[in-house]
Symmetry: C2
Subunit: 220 residues, 2 copies
Amino acid sequence: MSEKQSIKTWPRNVAADFSKLRKSEQTRQIILDTALEFLWSHSFRDLSVAGLTNQAGISRTCFYQYFDDLHNLMEVLLNDLEWEILAAAEPWLIAKADSAVKLSESLYKLVKVCYERGPILLAIFESAPMDERLEKAWNDFVNVFDDTVTARIIQDQALGRAPEFQARPVAIALNRMDIGILIHHFGRDPRSEIQPVYQAIVRIWLNTIYGKETLDTVQG
Amino acid sequence: MSEKQSIKTWPRNVAADFSKLRKSEQTRQIILDTALEFLWSHSFRDLSVAGLTNQAGISRTCFYQYFDDLHNLMEVLLNDLEWEILAAAEPWLIAKADSAVKLSESLYKLVKVCYERGPILLAIFESAPMDERLEKAWNDFVNVFDDTVTARIIQDQALGRAPEFQARPVAIALNRMDIGILIHHFGRDPRSEIQPVYQAIVRIWLNTIYGKETLDTVQG
DNA sequence: TTTTTTTCTGACATTATGTCAGAAAAGCAA
DNA sequence: TTGCTTTTCTGACATAATGTCAGAAAAAAA
């Protein structure tokens, strides 16, 4: 947090009207916003409490009134991101028919959200392994998708829409693929275009789940 | 590095005959082996220079004679892992024909290597974002695969073996999928079985690259 | 305004890092 | 083996970032 930062692209929900909020709520928001802004253009490893509070114009000590430490702050950011992503994925998660189409729609929304929050997603992902609690929060979040996708695949298989294969490992793989590719393309400015990323993702999901041919030549 | 560790499964190449090596080479190896053993059953975040040297039976200071810091040590472990993985992937990388078969073979070897070195792979992956040099080394490593896979896909497309689609984003996605799933299943003891993981990976790769149908319904 | 409650801060304690000069050990030659 | 040179190791020190706490300052309420 020692370097200066460009504010060209304001990352997100600019806090609207502070004046009516309790002071403590204002300060908390300032800290969060400052962190968000910093992480938009810097790696999590360069974030420090001292730098953050400096930038925010408050004393270092004050930070600890609102967060246990930097990882706890990331946990808060993760929570914000979580419901945004879950909202994006919902169409497919609750769909009863037209799986493939709903899947494509959901994937597109997912890609868009991650495009918008890319650097934050990256920061959360990178900082998660450094802290047990945060790591667990992240894993719990990802597991929701593992479970849901697995269930959807099994359902589609039962309906004859998808061929037979072990659903869970494939679901896990597809989700890890999403995370990896989204972070790769959108994690740092300048971010890639949305379209090619979306097309790659959708191709892999659809061909994997609904594609007929499995050239399973080698069995080890 | 404060907890005790189980040595049930010795992770790798047990240093054979130390007696003929220079003292410094012995010590260096002891440090590396101790780290390897620790990481076999603990997260990188719990590794410290103090704990490591304690376990190795040398003074903390001594560590710095061989490595700049813990991340530099991880860099060394990464190098070891690198050629092992590259060797596994080689069959496909240099294949001129039978792409799909060679791909399946290479993937199987890759899965096997990552099964054997899972926890180390995880430790490298998790520690990489914390250090600029290490991060770069990791990215360079992964980029090799991105480039090679992209080239192979384009080649197969030119030969009419694979349908048309943007090769690079797909290559990147497939590689991130590999990393994610291999770390997920093999990163920590107890590790998953090899077969289901291999089958999921191979299904995704083959269906994605050689599968005909791309139900590209939504274009946003 | 005065009083009470909330919020902020400077000073301190702690912990892990990395450095350096000198001690100890290893390697070597006679 | 002994003495000499080079390599390796270590304790003491300096540094940097964290997290805590009691009191100061500011906000909110009366």
